[in-house]
Subunit: 445 residues, 2 copies
């Protein structure tokens, strides 16, 4: 591949894409708005850790980074729910050996940039903010920290510049560009559970912790340093909301009422709450993803809310599938772009839907007996009929089948489990004579 | 009212709003991008006639224009379907005396501008294109035909600048602005059925004509000059699509196959098809509609596709309800804006949904026997139980109840009619002992 390819945005998907294209011999220029994260110049306000699962791992394998990344990750085997009175309930994510991985966003980005930098045919430029693109002339205008603008041109230009993509902004002005940005009425605030003595974990290390409270929730993911990054998701307005938590007294009273068991592990929560920014939650969808020599990838094409832990995994899968399509169709870029968006848009829409659905599941349903019953049946079916039945969570997080397929199968699974619950067959799950015909009827039809 | 109020956009909703605010004493400045339509300076490419129904009429009554507008309108009492072999089928829109009105967009706009111009406290400026607004400073930048820019300021600024609103573009950049633009895979092309001898109508005058062809359709609305404005709705791509109609031969063959009965009335269809632009169809939704001293109204807030004939009616209802809210809450503009969007957003979303649903109904279902059966039952229920049962079409087009209510009732109606069809009660509709309990069960619960 001899093309000159510009990549706007050196975050996770942009830097992974740079590596894939560099391996094919392209002349890659990677432009990143922020400073060099390897020099500690990343800015604040981004989520600190992320859940890496099968799709993301598969993409990292493609560039030989999976093992190295997993070495620094913390496996999370299931959800640990904390009730208001501090009782713990555990739900496994899948079967033995199926777990998701808490990884540091910045460490992962550093590893990707380091690898990209090893290629002579990759040039990485930091503090270069894309302020304009000309979709008809294959150009982009980058502005440095002093306001100096440079116009660059390339044969192919990728917009991996995140949820507020400048490349997508220009595409939005073209005719028949379908676009939506949807904000939740919820904001989020990052807080911390600090390490115990000798950097020990003060709560179960190998779990994603959830404090489900119906209309709101807090979650916590473990970090290698023994601390947990907590995120409080709360409505902006209403009876229990960010609006009502303005003073230290209000914050303290709220936490004492709802997260009492976490307070001893969170010595700085009041100060953190007051000083940390409140983030917003958006789903962004668009169609098409490509225009002439431009293509969107990662969050620029599909920002999803974080409740299925799939934002990064979906972006990495974009890169992996694009690379596979290039393998097959190079040098026909028109065809590559066409196949790329055909392959990805429906799947990005599916995971966006699933993430919205999972928000309700996490903040509300996980704490309810009927849902626990549902999950128990779901897990039992997975365990006893592994060839015939896969849970939606398993399909999303531990398989390479498409998100769209996982979404479609989820509906079938729900119908089957509803039938089992209605006929009180919970204890008959191991009875293949009863259950196999039901799986055949509901799932394999 | 002493405020200085700027209205960006002098189309139907902007000019009606100017009149309402002028009557309250505001100092109104109305800025219109195009030239003065009263001097024949409107530009092409906009739909020529529109269907005015109850909501629109109610809004026009508020400023004393309803009678005058209806004098120039052509009542359409129902749909006339044309099958492929030229057979005609008629479906009434409602009961005796319930009809929609074909009105000329430009004539209506002229009447509104003329009335607005009668007020000393209204200033109308043409060829003033809004190129920027500052949401925090209450200013807008207008550019004239020579590229000269003027910055204006006002106490309150309305964006009635249509589907591609410049005001909304700025609001889209504010935090937590939910926004979507969705394009259909269909385009449209305007054509004409010419008048017969002595400006007579060559087809039934008092009907909206439809040539339903499943995946595409043509419609025609009568004009006072004896002609009909036809609109062909067709996919952009695919087997039968604009893509496949490039040459006069292809267009002719297509019309001969699908619209043979219309050809004798459309002497210029091939030339018109070749020279007229292909329009696109978008649904635009956003939330909020207000920001500080700015508010969106009409298509700027909610572009809908034209298949329920409610775009203009919805926009006029925006103005009417806003005016009622001003009546009650003036001079508390914060409250006025809050109540305004609370009242309107859910209804605009409902009619956007209904318009999408009606597209399928018009192009496909109206030609099918089971749908005709459905409509017959629907009409019979309306006729025999007028106090208990209202069709969705009646609620949307001939009532002042909210669009949201019409949408919700539509689901109930469908359940009732499905029950009647399932139990073959079609001929028992007049039997109150059978039907009244069903209406109570399905509709009035």
């Amino acid at each position: 591949m001899k093309e000159k390819i510009a990549i706007i945005g050196g975050g996770l998907s942009g830097s992974l894409l740079a590596i894939c294209l560099a391996k094919r011999g392209a002349q890659v220029e990677l432009f990143e708005r922020r400073g060099d994260i390897r020099k500690g110049q990343a800015d604040a306000g981004r989520s600190i850790n992320l859940a890496l699962s099968t799709r993301g791992i598969e993409a990292l394998k493609r560039v030989g980074l999976a093992e190295q990344v997993l070495n620094d990750a913390i496996p999370m085997n299931g959800r640990m729910m904390h009730s208001v009175d501090g009782q713990l309930t555990y739900q496994a994510y899948g079967k033995e050996g199926q777990y998701i991985n808490s990884v540091s966003r910045s460490l992962l980005n550093i590893k990707l940039l380091e690898l990209a930098d090893e290629f002579d045919n990759v040039k990485i430029l930091f503090k270069q903010k894309c302020v304009d693109v000309d979709l008809n002339k294959n150009t982009a205008v980058l502005e440095d920290e002093h306001g100096v603008q440079t116009s660059i041109t390339a044969d192919i230009i990728f917009g991996s510049d995140g949820a507020f993509s400048a490349v997508r902004s220009e595409m939005q002005k073209t005719n028949r560009f379908t676009y939506s940005q949807t904000y939740e009425n919820y904001g989020y605030k990052e807080l911390e559970i600090v390490p115990g003595p000798d950097n020990s974990f003060q709560a179960e290390e190998h779990a994603l912790h959830i404090w489900p409270r119906g209309e709101f929730m807090m979650i916590a993911l473990p970090n290698p340093g023994g601390n947990f990054t907590c995120t409080l998701f709360l409505p902006y307005e209403g009876e229990r909301s960010f609006d009502k938590l303005q003073t230290p007294q209000e914050i303290e009273a709220f936490f004492k009422q709802y997260f009492a068991d976490a307070i001893p592990m969170m010595p700085n929560y009041v100060e953190d709450f007051m000083s940390n920014p409140t983030g917003s939650l958006a789903t962004i969808r668009c169609n098409p993803w490509v225009y002439k020599k431009f293509a969107l990838i990662g969050d620029a094409a599909h920002a999803v809310i974080p409740f299925y832990g799939q934002g990064m995994n979906c972006s990495f899968e974009d890169v992996k599938e694009l690379d596979e399509i290039i393998e097959e169709h190079y040098p026909n870029w028109d065809n590559i772009f066409k196949k790329y968006q055909e392959a990805r848009i429906k799947n990005a829409n599916a995971i966006a839907d699933l993430a919205c659905k999972n928000f309700v599941e996490m903040r509300d349903l996980v704490g309810r007996p009927e849902f626990m019953r549902f999950k128990k049946i779901d897990n039992d079916l997975c365990a006893h009929y592994p060839e015939m039945y896969k849970s939606q969570y398993e399909l999303v997080s531990f398989s390479k089948t498409s998100y769209k397929y996982a979404q479609d199968m989820g509906y079938k699974n729900e119908a089957l489990i509803a039938h089992i619950m209605e006929h009180n067959l919970d204890t008959d799950i191991q009875n293949a004579a009863v259950i196999k015909p039901l799986i055949e009827r509901f799932i394999l039809n």
